[in-house]
């Protein structure tokens, strides 16, 4: 199994498309960092516009590395599923297209093992991609913008909130958030891998995965009570942004944030369960389908 995984990782590492993802992330992060370095105040003014008259805020301090990483992740984690699909969606269909799938399958390894190796390789890719993101969006931002208390601008139900997390309470939240993101993106990888079994070129499953994510995200963001109650809980995309839950800090009766706390850990935990369930079901289905599939490519 370890041997197979090594082979899969080796193949991923040798493909030029793998590095598109890293380049894309770097480019997006650089653009954000440049933009905020140049004119972060405008963004702050936009976020604060309705209370600009009532409060003063040290905007230079507010636009720090922690804040930057949150802003970048907020945008980037919407795009990253595409990058994950790019690799996972290609895992089987790409080999079918090249004609190497039949060679792989006629080697003395079980199809289940082969599929698992491909799944774990996609997972490893996802994690490495996230580590790269952490390095670029968090570590580099910390170096460029410094470190200070972190502000979270948030819409909660019908209300907007500004939360402040003290600087010494941030890093564990990012660790947890990146961990959560790894699980969420693994769901995307599982979908792409599942679709990949059916296709004989890699474009199909990649596009299909992206479409599924987009459609579900759009539905997740329709703010109609009927959908909120009946549809949203069933869409995995509703849980993709759950990493933010680690930045929703609990407050005491006075509205003062409690250091080291989470506002709603059960919600995050349930989201994780749901995401894990998705991965489990998709992997199970993939294994079943892949083992029964006639390889005609």
């Amino acid at each position: 199994m370890w041997n197979l995984l090594q082979i899969e990782l080796y193949k991923i590492s040798k493909r030029p498309r793998t590095y598109i993802a890293f380049a894309a992330i770097s480019a997006i992060v650089f653009i954000f960092q440049f933009a905020f370095k140049a004119d972060g105040e405008s963004y702050m003014n936009l976020m604060m516009q309705s209370v600009q008259d009532s409060f003063e805020l040290n905007k230079t301090k507010a636009i720090n590395g922690y804040f930057m990483c949150y802003i970048i992740l907020n945008t980037l984690l919407v795009q990253v599923p595409v990058l994950v699909a790019l690799i996972a969606g290609d895992a089987i269909s790409g080999e079918a297209n090249m004609g190497t799938l039949r060679l792989l399958i006629t080697r003395p390894v079980s199809r289940t093992q082969l599929l698992m190796a491909k799944f774990i390789a996609s997972f490893v890719f996802t994690v490495v991609l996230l580590l790269w993101m952490a390095l670029m969006a968090l570590v580099l931002s910390m170096l460029i913008f410094g470190v200070d208390d972190m502000l979270i601008f948030r819409v909660k139900g019908e209300e907007s909130q500004i939360m402040q997390i003290t600087a010494d309470d941030v890093l564990w939240r990012y660790t947890a958030a990146f961990g959560y993101a790894a699980v969420a993106l693994t769901v995307i990888a599982s979908i792409a891998l599942f679709l990949s079994i059916y296709a004989e070129n890699s474009i199909g499953p990649i596009v299909a995965t992206v479409c599924i994510v987009i459609v579900c995200t759009v539905i997740s963001n329709i703010n109609v009570p009927v959908i909120d109650r009946n549809v949203k809980p069933w869409l995995f995309t509703s849980y993709l942004v759950g990493w933010k839950g680690f930045f929703y800090i609990a407050t005491n009766a006075d509205g003062e944030p409690i250091k080291g706390s989470l506002e709603n850990w059960p919600a995050i935990r349930n989201s994780l369960y749901i995401l894990f369930a998705h991965i489990g079901v998709l992997l199970g289905l993939s294994t079943y389908v892949f083992n029964r599939k006639d390889i005609l490519s």
Partner: protein
């Protein structure tokens, strides 16, 4: 004119009005106590105060900030957070009652006696004579025994009513409070649409009040020490507070 400067001016006017009371008021007791208050405050040319500020606004979930307040005669004031990011209510800058200006154009009414807590106070209302003034009405509650302003309620056209509650301790001889409760109005906070994709964890916030309705905010400042009439760091007032 920046808003903060506006508020500073408003309060300057209020305080100035308070200082003018002895001249305009018929009641001899009021005149005396205000004159005493003015004298107390007059001793302070500048100060640097250290304290903690707790901001209590529904949409703002922020920790207690350690702040330093700098004041210099006649009306320069700055609240600076020691470390971290902090939201400073702009109106809070107006806590400097110590300003004494030669202002004019107020109608002063004796509004009788009242109590702040258990302390009997004299209530004085100030009405600007200028109809276009942002200030609509200011009410001062003065402790006649100690010549200290315990409460000031100020109504402005644009930003509603501010209320200052002050308690005095060690520094009462200078007329400087060590506990200030500052109530102010703020608009409901609304994030621009489509900026965030938030994690909807199923919980809903309490039903909000009608949109745009002003909300009450409160800042509590607990001052632990004043350094009175000692040189301030140079350039401390040079920026508007955003740096």
């Amino acid at each position: 004119m920046t808003p903060s400067f506006k508020y500073r001016k408003i309060v300057s006017i209020i305080v100035a009005g308070a200082m003018l009371l002895p001249i305009l008021l018929q009641a001899q007791t009021a005149e005396q106590l205000i004159e005493q208050a003015r004298q107390k405050l007059d001793q302070v040319n500048q100060y640097e105060a250290k304290g903690r500020m707790k901001t209590n606004v529904t949409f703002l979930k922020v920790p207690v900030a350690t702040v330093t307040i700098y004041f210099s005669k006649p009306n320069q004031m700055r609240i600076k957070s020691e470390k971290g990011v902090s939201f400073v209510p702009k109106g809070a800058v107006s806590i400097n009652l110590g300003q004494v200006l030669s202002a004019k154009d107020f109608t002063i009414l004796d509004a009788g006696d009242d109590k702040v807590g258990a302390t009997p106070v004299k209530v004085v209302k100030l009405l600007p004579n200028d109809d276009n003034s942002d200030l609509v009405l200011s009410t001062l509650y003065i402790d006649p025994a100690k010549s200290l302003v315990l409460r000031a309620r100020t109504t402005t056209r644009e930003n509603g009513t501010y209320e200052l509650d002050m308690s005095y301790g060690k520094y009462s001889e200078y007329g400087l409070p060590d506990k200030i409760f500052f109530s102010f109005n703020t608009k409901d906070y609304k994030l621009p649409k489509g900026v965030t994709f938030d994690f909807d964890d199923g919980s809903t916030a309490r039903q909000p009040a009608e949109k745009g309705k002003p909300k009450k905010g409160r800042a509590e400042i607990y001052i632990s020490s004043y350094k009175i009439n000692q040189p301030l760091p140079p350039g401390i007032f040079s920026s508007t507070g955003t740096r």
